[in-house]
Symmetry: C2
């Protein structure tokens, strides 16, 4: 038996559920086997046995696992191993347990807070008064002289600490109240939620549970869903998690998904994004050792279509003139009503949107940047699958949306990926070669948005591409690949796979930047604002922690203004979502922002197409708009 | 066959479901057969084929039915007959359809409004602004310039007509909104409900449905449930219906039912009273040809225990010192949540209670009488199974509850019945004989509360009973019956059955009046008020339309004040419920009343028992308290 096995050089590993298989060499790790089989496992530490997230259950076969503190005795008895700490010694069948499924990815956005640097003073001003909070109360027991009903006694005590003119409790809470109050000797913790202009008593727990109040702030993007787990008491961000939006199976573009919802009904699209949220929340909660029932609120900032999918509101009118939402400011609903698994009575809040194509993520961005309070004119560009552009000051604010596509989120690009571990986030291209840096300094896996911007700007500066973005076929490092020219960023030997940027990738990126720049350009022109009038440009997007602003200008993505006026703030949707979750004053301000911003419809602008076409060049057809780039690169007109 | 049948003098009629049987003579009506079998059928007209309510379905056998306009061709094909218009011609099996089950009784309270005579000016002052209303709206369709979301567009239009700072809509309404607005060409009817300090958008219907808004005001009493169907547009009472509370199977006294709920859980007790409400509402709705889905609100005035049963709130603490409710002012809930069948999104409102044993029915009574706004001191006595007593004026109001038992509601009395058709409601007893009058001038069936008061006062005045209520065994019309003395009010020959009043009946009635009078007496004494200080006494209760106030004084039920100060108002609980249903100003006033009235606990009064014992005599041990009675009857002290 031993001899037979030792003679075999490769073993078969089968992954359940689904039955994907890989053939791997003896002593390969299960993590490597999973990668070979195309099974995504979560891994934060990169296979070093530190994060404890790549959990598998061995069902059959020969697997040798190193000791680990991440598994309990009980789990080990049940066959659990860490994939990165277990090596294959024979054919094996392993199961991916639910907590390890569904493409859970690396922590990427914990640092989003860092970007709320000096500019976002606005955010600092909101008082700490979370939308949902727990209050420990010690009630005086009833007497003949003080014989209020149980509900009224509880409400009286709550109002001693919180102004709550309209307090409401559901029947289930009231039904449990008499026994609960008496069993806990009138010492209870009330969970209070802001709901419209009222306060809802979500639940009552025995004893003092005031320290266990958690919420999730979530940026529900077309391509990416990013979630932060927040301690609503301290305001601290405990954990972060992100993944691609599973709705992508129905198309990268929102419009495709709306059509799918119209044809097949909205149930499946809702389920996909809800499960994404559930995956992210449950993973963070497990990791932090928090009870799911202590998560009492989820606040989502999403574009209008995502909010429609989440709530199963019919999205059809969004894609037809005049692009109207079913609801721009949907009410808070019971999270369970849409299938989100937190405390069964916990609430789902949705930041209000501004118009059909400018959603709550942008309201959040305005809230986080404080653009609506700026003395001078400010521009906010949020680069996602849709690029939203906001222009204004304390006096007026106008916003529009440009369909950019997902190139800057790493999708629709040959070697694109999210700004997670191993993503090339910074690139320098010299005539002699390429230098790059990855997220977490891990082996390079692909190219994220900031890396793509760096790469194209670098290719342009180094002369690999012309102003139309065409690769020079004769240049060093340019190869033909499946009938198409491609620039090799990382050769196959240096990385798990060759990382290239193809002619089509460049075209996709230029279309994306052109759509955004055209939007900026039109909004400025319509409002009679020159780029130099802008006192600030806020740049937002899921680029990870790094974006080279000079390269963004070289690309022609943002107007050519002095760089000290440009501020990269990372994920402002998430930052705004957190502000609103942690302060009802911020939440109310978000309502006012959404109601007060003017929506500008780019699609009906008669010269949009001209602006778009002119912006597809590097940096732009009209070099006068980019004097810095023209000067630095000594470019001559015309293209 | 014919011969065989004709030879048979009696036929067997079986009633489904349940299988009760009766043997009746040929050509007996099915209504008579039902009575003989102990099957209760509704009948308003007393068997004259007019009301059309005694519907049955003939399943087998020989039944001959007279033509009627109350049944459709389709129904006749399916075997429907009116029981009073169908005679038995052979053995038969008939089914009691749901609409004819559950002891539906005669209309009794349509005239409750009449009692809100000049005294109740307060009621007239409330503006017509029903708790739930329908509003027809013609929305401007969206354009690029006016591109609000559907929800926001609807809310904007609603706010043009109604002040609704906090407007909320459930997810289901929002999900249906886009298609509904477009299909109806932006002409819709919104149903708006007051809920706490907010307005809920209950539903949206296509087109103009503003004229179809109905609600039910319901007095949920321990013994009797009375319902009125109200057109919320016009304020008109369309129909009325009443029945005994089916919870009586668990005991006449509230305390018995609370114990039952504690032992067996509250589900059954809830179901019984909910089904009573459903029976009453569905019957009225059918009769009026109204769609059940157009009934959008039910407002109940009930004692605290009834509200607990209705909402399935644990009632246990109500019967234990210090007699505390789970909730005195429960929030409006979806009627469907407790099983009440109206519009699935319609609301159930409950008038707030004052204390553990002084409930929303008394809040309603105060609201209806305007006692809390009186310049002078007023007393409200609501005579039900619990007798509640309210004393006060615009400056202060205090209330207590006395356990009277159901004698005045016709229960616990040998020939007692509700004040429905055939009930003896007025009695005069002369040395020579008895004169009486029945509700609807129908053949006498039994004795209701007002008849009982008349009868005992009459017996006392005519010398049939002494001051202790003892029947003189030698008097004319006094018989011994099952070892007990009884006075024959109606001999067997004059009525379907002999109607008597027994020694025990008299004792029950005296105990009931003593409990109430003791409460009155203690409340006056505790507040330092003499009877002659009372500018008004409001008397309320389910006595039907007649109560002889002089007899109530003779009995010692109410203080001996000049009779022009005493006003009998009928069912003030129902009157107040209707005011609140029809005006949110009245509803809000009810909240303030409930919160402002002081609850006095009679049970812990140290001299309650003494007062009770002293009040068990006719009119009272202390004749000085009843100078009018002493003078008129030339009574000498002591008893």
């Amino acid at each position: 038996m031993e001899a037979q096995l030792s003679g075999k050089r490769e073993y078969r590993v089968t992954f359940l559920p689904g039955g994907k298989e890989a053939r791997v060499a003896a002593r390969a790790t299960l993590l490597a086997a999973a990668a070979a089989a195309g099974v995504e496992l979560p891994s934060v530490c990169g296979g070093e046995g530190i994060c404890g997230r790549c959990r598998l259950i061995v069902r059959q076969g020969q697997v040798e696992a190193a000791p680990t503190l991440h598994l309990s005795r009980e789990e080990i008895k049940r066959g659990y191993v860490l994939a990165c700490q277990a090596v294959v010694r024979g054919d094996a069948v392993v199961e991916v347990p639910p907590e390890s499924r569904a493409g859970r990815e690396a922590v990427v956005d914990l640092d989003a807070r860092e970007f709320l640097a000096p500019e976002a003073e606005a955010g600092e001003k909101f008082p700490r008064e979370p939308l949902v909070e727990k209050l420990f109360l010690s009630l005086p027991p009833p007497t003949l002289e003080d014989n209020l009903g149980d509900q009224e006694r509880l409400f009286r005590e709550i109002r001693r600490f919180r102004p709550a003119p309209i307090l409401q409790a559901g029947l289930k809470v009231l039904q449990s109240l008499p026994a609960l109050l008496r069993d806990s000797r009138w010492r209870v913790t009330a969970t209070l939620a802001q709901r419209g202009g009222t306060v809802e008593l979500l639940q009552v727990e025995p004893g003092d549970r005031a320290g266990t109040t958690y919420g999730a702030a979530i940026d529900v993007g077309t391509s990416t869903v990013v979630a932060h787990l927040i301690d609503l008491n301290s305001g601290e961000t405990l954990d972060a998690e992100a993944k691609y939006n599973s709705q992508r199976a129905y198309g990268e573009e929102v419009t495709r998904r709306i059509i799918a919802a119209e044809r097949q009904g909205p149930t499946r699209l809702q389920a996909l994004v809800v499960e994404d949220i559930n995956d992210l929340v449950s993973l963070m909660v497990d990791r932090q050792g928090i009870k799911l029932s202590d998560v009492v609120a989820v606040l989502c900032a999403g574009n209008t279509a995502m909010v429609h999918f989440l709530l199963r509101l019919p999205p059809g009118a969004l894609r037809r003139h005049p692009y109207v939402a079913a609801a721009l400011a949907p009410p808070p609903v019971r999270a369970a009503e849409v299938g989100i698994r937190i405390n069964p009575r916990g609430l789902l809040y949705l930041l209000p949107g501004i118009g059909g194509w400018v959603g709550g993520d942008i309201t959040a961005g305005i809230l986080a940047t404080g653009l609506h309070k700026c003395e001078g004119l400010a521009l906010l560009i949020d680069i996602g699958t849709n690029g939203e552009i906001v222009l204004g000051s304390k006096d007026w604010v106008v916003a529009c949306s440009a369909s950019a596509g997902p190139a800057f989120e790493g999708a629709g690009v040959t070697c694109g990926m999210r700004a997670s571990r191993g993503a090339i986030a910074q690139v320098e291209i010299h005539p002699t070669g390429v230098r790059y840096r990855t997220v977490g300094d891990a082996p390079p896996q692909g190219l994220c948005g900031s890396g793509l911007i760096d790469a194209i700007a670098g290719l342009f500066r180094a002369g690999y591409i012309d102003r139309a973005g065409r690769l020079r076929p004769d240049a060093k490092l340019v190869r033909e690949r499946a009938g198409e020219l491609a620039f090799v960023l990382v050769p196959a030997g240096e990385a798990p796979r060759e990382i290239v940027i193809t002619q089509r990738d460049i075209e996709n990126a230029l279309r994306a930047k052109a759509a955004i720049y055209a939007g900026v350009s039109i909004l400025l022109r319509e409002m009679g604002v020159r780029p130099r009038d802008l006192s600030r440009i806020y740049l937002a997007g899921a680029f990870g922690s790094h974006l080279d602003l000079r390269n963004a200008v070289t690309l022609g993505l943002i107007p050519d203004v002095p760089l000290e006026r440009v501020h990269f703030l990372g994920n402002t949707a998430l930052a705004g979502a957190k502000l609103a979750l942690l302060s009802r004053t911020a939440w109310e301000e978000a309502q006012r922002i959404a109601a007060g911003v003017t929506y500008y419809d780019l699609i009906s602008c008669p010269y949009y197409y001209d602006e778009f076409m002119a912006a597809k060049f590097l940096p732009h057809t009209d070099l006068a708009r980019f004097p810095t780039v023209r000067g630095a690169l000594r470019l001559g007109e015309p293209v």
